[in-house]
C-alpha cells in the first residue's frame, strides 16, 4: 500500500511524489476547508456545572474558549523544523491572539479532518500558509462582527490584538467575552474573508521561540519511546540480516530463559522487494523492560534463507554503475544538439562523481507504541512524519478498517525522511496483537543503521564542452542510482521523473546544447528519501563541475554562475523533457516558476554578505555553490582555514536564502545552521556500505556524523526579504553546501573532489 507515495508509480501527474508534492486534491480541499466550504460550522460546546464554558471552533485548527484560552492545532509533525510553532504562529497572527497565552495541541492522524499531514518535502509552510491565514482571519472577522454589532460601530474601525477586539474609539472586549455572541453568526464566505495587510503582522517574520522549548530543556518533552502505558511490554526484533531473507527456523529457548522475557513471536516479512511500509521478516522478543528484550534478542538462534541479495556488494555495484555512465542512457531532457557541440568543441571537460549510501541516523532510533485492544481496534503513539500513512499501513497489516486505528503523534527525535515510513509502527501493531498487550517496539542503533530506507549510492558523469571563445556550449549529464521505486518494484530501474526533477533535469544554466540521461541500476536494499533526496548527489556533481568550468573559462565562480544563468526569466523545462514530466515539486510551474532573476539576486547578495571580493583579495580559501531545491533559492559560501595543528577547519559559512515570505525567521536560520552541519556529515564522514547483502556499519563509531570540534563554526544566514508566497527551508540548506565545501577544498589543496565522503 502506497497511499501517499504515488510518485513511485508511473506516468500519472497526480501520482508525482506526494513526498515532495502536496496533491492538488488535498490542496484544493484545504483551500476550501480554510475558506468556508468544509468548515465544521461554528461549533459550540458547553461544559461545566452550569454550562458556562463556551468553546468557539470555527474550523479544525483553532478553538477559543469563553475563558480566553486560544487553542491552536498543530496537524503536522514536529521533527525539529519548528513547524509545530510556525503554522500556529500564522493562525495566531491573523487572529490577533496573545501568543503568550495560546496553547498548542497535536492533531492525531486524520487527513479527512485536518488535510495533508505528510510532513515531508519542505512543503508545510508552502501548502498551509494561505489556509492558516484564512483560518485565523475567519475567526477574527466573526469576533469583530460580534463586537461591532454590540457597540454599534463600523467593523472597519475595529481590529484584534493580544486576544482582544479593539475599536478606534477606545472600546475593547476580550475574545472570551465575545464567543458566546457568535452562536448564530454565519461563517463568512471564502471571498469575504479578508486577510491582514502584510505590514500589520506581528508574529509572521519574527523570531517566535519554539513552543516546546522549555519542556525540552527540562526533559518533559514527549518523544516516541517516552509514552508509557499500563502493563506495556517492550519488544526488540531480530530482523532479516539481508533484505529479502526468510526465516527457516528459530530457537527461542535461550531467549525465553532471560529474566524478564515473556514471549517470542515471529513477524512475517514482506520478502523482496520489501516495500516502503511493511514490516521486515524477524523474530520479536517481548519482555518486561528494554534491557531484557535486548538480551533476549542476543540469545535468539535463527536460521535464515538469505535470499537473492546475499551476494550483494555495494562497492561492486557502484563500480558497475560508474562504468554504465560511459554508454548511452535513457534521455530525460534534450535541448539543441549536444553531439554537435561535442564534435566542434575546442575544450572538453569530462568528470565523474560518486556518492555512497547514507543512513538518516536520527538520534532517536525508531520506536513506536501500539495497543491492539480487546474490541480489535488499535491505538498507536509514534514519532511519525506521516500519521495517515501509519494509520493505513497498520490497518492493512491488522486487517482493520482505518477508522479502527487511531494514531497519536509524539515529537520526533529527528526525522529527515526516515520516519515517513511506517514499518516500525506496523511492527508495534503486529507485536501488540500477538502479545495481547500494549507494546513498545524499540529499535537499537544497529537496527537503525541496518534497516534504514537509505539514500541511494550514485554515480554520475558530466561532459561539458567549450568553444574557442570560452563559451559553454554543451552539457551532458549522466546519472544512475537505485530508485526509491526499487524498494517496491523490481521493474523500477531508472530514477523517476520526481527524482530526476531533484536537481538534475532542472539544470538552470543557459547552455545551448543539453542532454541529460539516466541509466539502469537495481535495488538490493530499502531505498528511501533523505533530507533533500537526489539533490544531494546532483548538486554535488553539477556545482563541482561548474567550478571547473569557471576555472577553465578563467572566471570567478560567482561571476561565472551569474553569467551562465543568463537573462532574468522563468524557465519551464517541460518542452525539453523527453518522455516525462518536469514535476516542479508538485506545483504548477506558472505558480512557482524557476526564476533566474531571483537566483541571481541571491548570488549577488551572497557575494556582498560573504565579503567575497575582499576575502578573495585577502587570500581566504572559499568555495561557492548556489542551488534551488524545493522551490527555494539558496546560495552558499564555505570558508576554510588550516588550524595550527594542520587540521582543516570551517570557520565560516555564508548562506543567502530566498524562500518568499519568511514566517519564523529564527527557525529558518536554525534550519540553515543545522543543514550545514548535516551536509558536513554527508560530505566528510558518513557512508553505508554492503558486503554479502549486509550493512557493514553498526553504530556511530563506524557510521560517523560530524561532532562539535569539526563542525562549521560561524554560520551566517541572510534571508531575502520578500512578500512572494512562501516555500520551505527544511531541505534546501543541504544541497549547495557540499559542492561549496568541495570547491573550497580544491582551493585549499589543489585536489578536485569527485567522491563522497572525502577527508577534510
Amino acid at each position: 500500500m502506497l497511499p501517499n507515495i504515488p510518485f513511485l508509480q508511473k506516468n500519472k501527474r497526480e501520482d508525482q511524489s506526494k513526498v515532495f508534492v502536496p496533491s492538488r486534491r488535498d490542496f484544493l480541499k484545504l483551500g476550501s476547508l480554510a475558506t468556508g466550504g468544509l468548515i465544521l460550522g461554528v461549533n459550540f460546546q458547553c461544559s461545566g456545572p452550569k454550562g458556562e464554558l463556551v468553546t468557539f471552533a470555527p474550523n479544525v485548527y483553532l478553538t477559543i474558549d469563553s475563558d480566553n484560552l486560544v487553542t491552536l492545532v498543530a496537524h503536522r509533525s514536529e521533527m525539529g523544523t519548528g513547524i509545530r510553532t510556525t503554522l500556529p504562529q500564522i493562525v495566531a497572527d491573523e487572529l490577533g491572539a496573545d501568543w503568550s497565552k495560546i496553547k498548542i495541541v497535536q492533531a492525531e492522524g486524520d487527513e479527512e479532518k485536518y488535510g495533508n499531514q505528510n510532513t515531508d518535502g519542505s512543503f508545510s509552510v508552502r501548502m498551509f500558509y494561505e489556509p492558516m491565514r484564512k483560518a485565523g482571519a475567519t475567526a477574527r472577522q466573526m469576533l469583530i462582527a460580534a463586537a461591532a454589532a454590540d457597540w454599534g460601530v463600523d467593523e472597519a474601525e475595529c481590529d484584534t490584538k493580544d486576544g482582544m477586539v479593539h475599536h478606534l474609539g477606545g472600546k475593547s472586549a476580550s475574545f472570551g467575552d465575545l464567543v458566546g455572541k457568535l452562536k448564530d453568526m454565519p461563517v463568512p464566505a471564502a471571498e469575504n474573508v479578508k486577510l491582514r495587510e502584510f505590514s500589520s503582522y506581528n508574529l509572521i517574520g519574527t523570531d517566535v521561540p519554539i513552543y516546546d522549548l522549555k519542556n525540552i530543556t527540562v526533559g518533559k518533552a514527549v518523544f516516541g519511546a517516552d509514552v508509557d502505558l499500563p502493563n506495556m511490554k517492550i519488544a526488540v526484533v531480530k530482523r532479516t540480516p539481508v533484505i529479502g531473507a526468510k526465516i527457516i527456523s528459530y530457537n527461542d529457548e535461550k531467549a525465553l530463559a532471560v529474566p524478564g522475557v515473556v514471549q517470542v513471536v515471529k513477524i512475517e516479512g514482506s520478502g523482496f522487494p520489501p516495500g516502503l511500509d511493511k514490516a521486515l521478516e524477524g523474530v520479536a522478543v517481548i519482555a518486561d523492560n528494554t534491557w531484557a528484550a535486548i538480551k533476549g534478542r542476543d540469545a535468539l538462534e535463527v536460521e535464515w534463507d538469505l535470499g537473492e541479495n546475499q551476494n550483494y556488494n555495494s562497492a561492486d555495484q557502484l563500480a558497475e554503475m560508474l562504468q554504465s555512465t560511459k554508454g548511452k542512457g535513457k534521455v530525460r531532457r534534450e535541448r539543441g544538439d549536444f553531439d554537435g557541440a561535442n564534435s566542434s568543441a575546442s575544450k572538453k571537460i569530462e568528470r565523474t562523481y560518486e556518492a555512497p549510501f547514507y543512513a538518516h541516523a536520527t538520534i532517536e532510533p525508531p520506536a513506536a507504541i501500539a495497543h491492539v485492544k480487546a474490541d480489535g481496534s488499535c491505538e498507536v503513539w509514534a514519532p511519525t512524519q506521516h500519521p495517515q500513512w501509519a494509520r493505513g499501513a497498520v490497518a492493512g497489516a491488522l486487517g482493520l478498517d482505518a477508522s479502527k486505528v487511531k494514531v497519536n503523534v509524539t515529537l520526533l527525535g529527528g526525522g529527515f525522511g526516515r520516519k515517513s515510513k511506517p514499518d516500525f509502527v506496523v511492527e508495534a501493531a503486529l507485536i501488540s496483537k500477538a502479545a495481547n498487550a500494549p507494546v513498545r517496539v524499540q529499535w537499537t542503533r544497529d537496527d537503525d543503521l541496518h534497516f534504514d530506507f537509505f539514500h541511494s549510492q550514485s554515480a554520475q558523469r558530466i561532459n561539458a564542452t567549450l568553444d574557442s571563445s570560452g563559451k559553454l556550449t554543451g552539457w551532458n549529464h549522466h546519472t544512475v542510482f537505485p530508485a526509491i521505486g526499487s524498494t517496491s518494484s523490481k521493474e523500477e530501474l531508472h530514477p523517476s521523473d520526481g527524482e530526476m526533477g531533484l536537481g538534475c533535469v532542472d539544470f538552470p544554466f543557459d547552455v545551448p546544447n543539453i542532454r541529460i540521461e539516466s541509466h539502469e541500476s537495481t535495488g538490493n536494499t530499502r531505498v528511501g528519501w533523505l533530507r533533500s533526496v537526489s539533490n544531494i548527489h546532483h548538486a554535488f556533481a553539477i556545482h563541482s563541475m561548474m567550478d571547473e568550468i569557471a576555472e577553465a573559462r578563467g572566471k570567478d565562480p560567482i561571476e561565472n554562475a551569474l553569467e551562465l544563468l543568463g537573462e532574468d526569466r522563468d524557465i519551464t523545462f517541460q518542452p525539453e523533457m523527453v518522455d516525462g514530466e518536469y514535476p516542479n515539486y508538485g506545483e504548477k510551474i506558472e505558480d512557482y516558476p524557476w526564476n533566474t532573476g531571483r537566483m541571481k539576486n541571491v548570488i549577488q547578495t551572497l557575494k556582498e554578505k560573504s565579503n567575497w571580493t575582499a576575502n578573495k583579495e585577502a587570500g581566504k580559501i572559499m568555495g561557492f555553490a548556489a542551488h534551488k531545491s524545493f522551490l527555494t533559492y539558496v546560495g552558499c559560501v564555505v570558508i576554510l582555514e588550516k588550524g595550527s595543528d594542520g587540521k582543516i577547519l570551517i570557520p565560516e559559512v555564508h548562506y543567502v536564502v530566498d524562500c518568499g515570505v519568511a514566517v519564523n525567521t529564527d527557525r529558518i536560520r536554525s534550519q540553515f545552521e543545522g543543514g550545514s552541519q548535516f551536509a558536513t556529515s554527508l560530505a566528510t564522514t558518513s557512508a553505508i556500505t554492503f558486503e554479502n547483502g549486509q550493512v557493514q556499519q553498526n553504530n556511530f563509531d563506524t557510521y560517523q556524523i560530524i561532532r562539535m570540534p569539526a563542525s562549521p563554526k560561524k554560520i551566517h544566514v541572510h534571508i531575502v526579504e520578500s512578500q512572494i508566497k512562501p516555500t520551505g527551508v527544511g531541505e534546501p540548506p543541504v544541497p549547495p553546501f557540499i559542492p561549496a565545501l568541495a570547491n573550497a577544498m580544491y582551493r585549499m589543496n589543489g585536489q578536485r573532489i569527485y567522491k563522497l565522503p572525502f577527508k577534510v
Binding site: 525539529g80 530543556t217 526533559g219 524478564g260 536554525s670 543543514g675 553504530n699 563542525s711
Partner: protein
C-alpha cells in the same frame, strides 16, 4: 535479580534489576523517568548523559550494580524549575531543534561548567565532543554554554 537502592535527584529509590542492566534502562523503564534518552547504547552519542557524583557519565554504559551509593542527577533533577543557568541559556539561545539529544547536551554542559566555570571555545568543543546532535545545533550550544558560564 537484585535489589538496589539508588540515590537519584536527592531521593533514594529501590529497584529490582539484573546486575548488568544499564543505568539508562533503570532510569527509563524501572523508574519511569523519560528525560534521559536512548541513542546508541554504546556511549558514542551522549543522549543518555546523567551526572554521577557531579561528573557526566553515559548512563547506557554504566551498570546498575556499579553505582553503589553514588549520587545520580538526571535532567529532571538538574534544577527545581528549569532555572539552572545552562537551561536558561538554552532557552535564551533557542538551542533545540528536535530536542532529543538536548537532555544529554545540557547535562554534559552543566558538568563541564561544574569543573571549569569559564571554558575556552576549544575546551567547550573538547568537552562536548561526545554529544552528537544530528539536527546540528552545535553553535547555539556553544553560545549557550558561554552565556551560562557568565551567569554562574
Amino acid at each position: 535479580m537484585a535489589k538496589y537502592t539508588l540515590n537519584i535527584n536527592g531521593e533514594n529509590k529501590e529497584v529490582d534489576a539484573v546486575e548488568d542492566m544499564p543505568l539508562l534502562w533503570v532510569i527509563r523503564d524501572l523508574l519511569g523517568m523519560k528525560g534521559t534518552k536512548f541513542g546508541c547504547g554504546q556511549a558514542f552519542c551522549g543522549a543518555c548523559t546523567v551526572h554521577l557524583d557531579g561528573v557526566a557519565v553515559r548512563s547506557c554504559s554504566v551498570q546498575v550494580s556499579s553505582v553503589g551509593d553514588g549520587q545520580i542527577t538526571t535532567i529532571e533533577g538538574l534544577s527545581e524549575d528549569g532555572d539552572h543557568p545552562v537551561q536558561k541559556a538554552w532557552v535564551e539561545h533557542i538551542v533545540p531543534q528536535c530536542g532529543y539529544c538536548q537532555s544529554g547536551q545540557i547535562m554534559n554542559a552543566a558538568a563541564l561548567l561544574n569543573s571549569n566555570s569559564n571554558p575556552s571555545e576549544a575546551e567547550i568543543e573538547q568537552a562536548m565532543e561526545g554529544n552528537l546532535c544530528r539536527c546540528g545545533t552545535y553553535n547555539r550550544i556553544k553560545d549557550a554554554i558561554v552565556s551560562a558560564s557568565k551567569s554562574m
